[in-house]
């Protein structure tokens, strides 16, 4: 470790060594994604029957991705949001009821739903900041409240059968806007997800908000002493997480052409897995949206591929758990600071040190 320059060091302006938005973890995940897609394409008949079918598969898992994007902001701050599932259900149910009971236009109702998700996120932040309750337990508590409210709002016969334009959100493809050769190829969900992925990626990597978000995640104290209003940052993160969860709930509503008070329950654990596998540290600060996006695709295609290959739901879930554990273990073994076990072993193999005499 010799970073001490000679005495006239002030003449030197050190340059940046690298400024890629992605690191080794993202690249490793991308390799894994390629392996998953190619592997299932070759080995599982029905997985790849043309580009439309492959892209069409994404419709089955992108709502998880939308939740994961929002949740990654919260986890970057070092918090957690266990209420995303309940928020998704509650806002989808309320939006559907607005449409079916009160005749509100479905898109207006959907907009109200997303806004409501933001408000529920604000409530989470309020409970965390005002009542001083840890995020884990605070959002656990609110998830019970929101879940109850969703059941109450749904009634015995929750609405279904939305207008065709709305169901296209979950199951339609983008036509007209794109070149004719792409007609029927690109799911609307994929476009929505891609747009948010780019937006969130830019937000976290290069926007002032993203910078303070990461800073709060690494060190809330240092952020406060730097004049950052950390409360506002947290409030924004939880509100965005809530709004993204609602959006996912509405996409699910459109995909199923129906709402249910428990429809969001499945989102939570998978979305957390996606964020964590994407390289976002559960302790905050570290991680990129690009990693989360790739991990959404890896886990999504993996699950669809395994189901098509004939594995049962349970085996697929077990394998997802195993992959999560194995990849984080591997990541720990080769950690960034070079102190991981594997790095040390590697350094020992590569460069045996001869003993040196003490010059004194």
């Amino acid at each position: 470790m010799d970073m001490r320059a000679p005495a006239n060091a002030n003449a030197v302006t050190p340059r940046n060594r690298r400024r890629l938005p992605v690191g080794g973890w993202e690249l490793a995940l991308t390799g894994l994604l390629a392996a998953v897609v190619v592997g299932f394409g070759a080995a599982a008949p029905g997985f790849y029957t043309g580009p439309a079918s492959l892209l069409g598969l994404t419709e089955n898992f992108l709502p998880f991705g939308l939740v994961a994007l929002g949740l990654s902001l919260v986890i970057l701050t070092g918090g957690i949001d266990l209420s995303v599932g309940a928020v998704a259900s509650l806002s989808a149910v309320l939006a559907a009821q607005l449409w079916s009971r009160f005749g509100v236009d479905i898109w207006a109702a959907a907009a109200v739903g997303v806004a409501l998700g933001g408000v529920l996120g604000l409530v989470n932040a309020g409970v965390i900041l005002r009542l001083g309750i840890e995020p884990l337990i605070a959002t656990l508590g609110t998830s019970f409240l929101y879940g109850s409210a969703a059941v109450a709002a749904a009634g015995a016969e929750p609405p279904s059968g939305f207008p065709g334009g709305f169901t296209a959100l979950g199951t339609g493809t983008v036509d007209g806007v794109l070149p004719a050769s792409l007609a029927g190829l690109v799911p609307i969900q994929l476009v929505v997800f891609a747009a948010f992925a780019v937006l969130f990626s830019a937000l976290v990597a290069r926007s002032p908000f993203g910078r303070v978000l990461v800073m709060v995640g690494y060190s809330p104290d240092a952020a406060r002493y730097s004049g950052i209003r950390t409360g506002r940052v947290l409030v924004t993160a939880y509100a965005v997480s809530g709004a993204m969860a609602s959006l996912a709930g509405l996409v699910l509503a459109s995909y199923y052409d129906a709402v249910r008070p428990d429809m969001g329950d499945v989102l939570l654990l998978t979305a957390i897995t996606m964020v964590v596998l994407g390289g976002v540290s559960i302790f905050g600060g570290e991680g990129t949206v690009a990693g989360v996006v790739v991990s959404v695709l890896v886990l999504g295609f993996l699950r669809q591929g395994m189901l098509i290959a004939g594995f049962s739901d349970m085996v697929t879930t077990m394998l997802t758990g195993a992959i999560l554990l194995a990849s984080i273990a591997v990541k720990n073994l080769f950690n960034r600071r070079g102190t991981g076990l594997a790095n040390q072993i590697w350094a020992m193999i590569r460069r045996p040190e001869p003993p040196r005499a003490n010059p004194s």
Binding site: L57, N60, A154, E157, T167, A258, M263, L307, I308, D313
Partner: protein, 310 residues
């Protein structure tokens, strides 16, 4: 359609997708279906989610579409949520046969109803009121507030009660979330909070077991009676001990057989929306507006329960 053996020349792939894979009643369907499939030259697959989630069923449907199955048979967690995916299957030329719990009519070719709702409602009422008396105060212990089939049955129970036993009063409605433990707790709570209740109608497999266990634990055997919709294995001990005098269901194994038979007919295109057919070893069935009623309720009691193992 013609009676007798259907055309089994072409081997077809049929999947059975239950609400969730870990319940004995669905396992009984599977047993029947598997046996029948072997006779009908069917490649049979039993798959589904581990928890009762529509998402899990849709995942299963999607993979079956990709694998080009000929028929999907399913009992749905939710009538509306599964519809888009099943309609996609139908568009891809796959026949869809719902059984047990229906999906939206537009999203399936045929529905095999366990028993007619009014008949089952009547059976539920009779198997309790016969013992609790026509002035009884009773409670309902269901699965979840929005379970379609349970709500249909509860509706039928109420209609039948109003017409036949107007003095019977329903004092509480609780939900056990299809979980035996939550059903047990709910059952205990009902009996403690309403000591005058002498009958519990629990039209759900987990609920009736929970209610029966609660009655037994409180030592109210012979004073409070319960009934529900459960496979005989799960309630055998309670039927023998007298907590449950009678409990209606249907023969799940046979139902599984019928599901496969209908799947074969549907794949062959040999069944019309309104039709009759005779399945060897099962009986003659009428198709009415795509709906086939499987059987009258089958009442289990201490005398016959040991004939059924599922």
């Amino acid at each position: 359609a013609e009676s007798g053996t259907p055309d089994t020349a072409k081997r077809i792939k049929v999947a059975m997708v239950p609400k969730l894979v870990g319940l004995s009643v669905f396992k009984a369907n599977e047993d029947g279906a598997k046996a029948e499939a072997a006779k009908l030259n069917i490649d049979f697959l039993y798959t589904g989610p581990v928890t009762a989630s529509a998402q899990g069923q849709v995942d299963a449907f999607n993979s079956l579409i990709a694998r080009k199955f000929d028929v999907i048979t399913t009992t749905s967690n939710n009538p509306t949520q599964l519809a888009p995916s099943l309609m996609r299957a139908m568009k891809a030329g796959i026949k869809v046969v719902a059984y047990d719990s229906d999906v939206a009519p537009a999203a399936r070719d045929f529905f095999i109803q366990n028993t007619a709702y009014p008949a089952f409602g009547k059976a539920l009422v009779e198997s309790v009121i016969k013992y609790a008396g026509p002035n009884a105060k009773i409670a309902i212990l269901s699965s979840t507030p929005d379970a379609t089939i349970q709500n249909e049955w509860i509706g039928a129970v109420k209609t039948y009660l109003a017409a036949t036993y107007p003095k019977v009063e329903i004092v509480a409605t609780e939900y056990g979330q299809s979980s035996p433990s939550q059903s047990l707790t709910a059952g205990l709570n009902i009996l403690q909070a309403h000591p005058d209740v002498t009958g519990i109608i629990a039209p759900d497999g987990a609920a009736v077991v929970g209610a029966a266990a609660a009655i037994e634990k409180l030592g109210k055997t012979g004073k409070v009676f319960t009934t529900g919709a459960s496979n005989p294995d799960a309630v055998r001990q309670y039927v023998k001990s007298g907590v449950i005098k009678e409990t209606p269901l249907w023969d799940e194994v046979k139902e599984g057989q019928l599901v496969m038979y209908v799947a074969r007919l549907a794949a062959n295109g040999a069944l019309k929306d309104n039709d009759t057919f005779t399945a060897p070893g099962l009986g003659t069935y009428e198709v009415k507006d795509k709906v086939i009623v499987f059987s009258e309720p089958l009442i289990f009691d201490a005398s016959n329960i040991d004939q059924y193992k599922f």
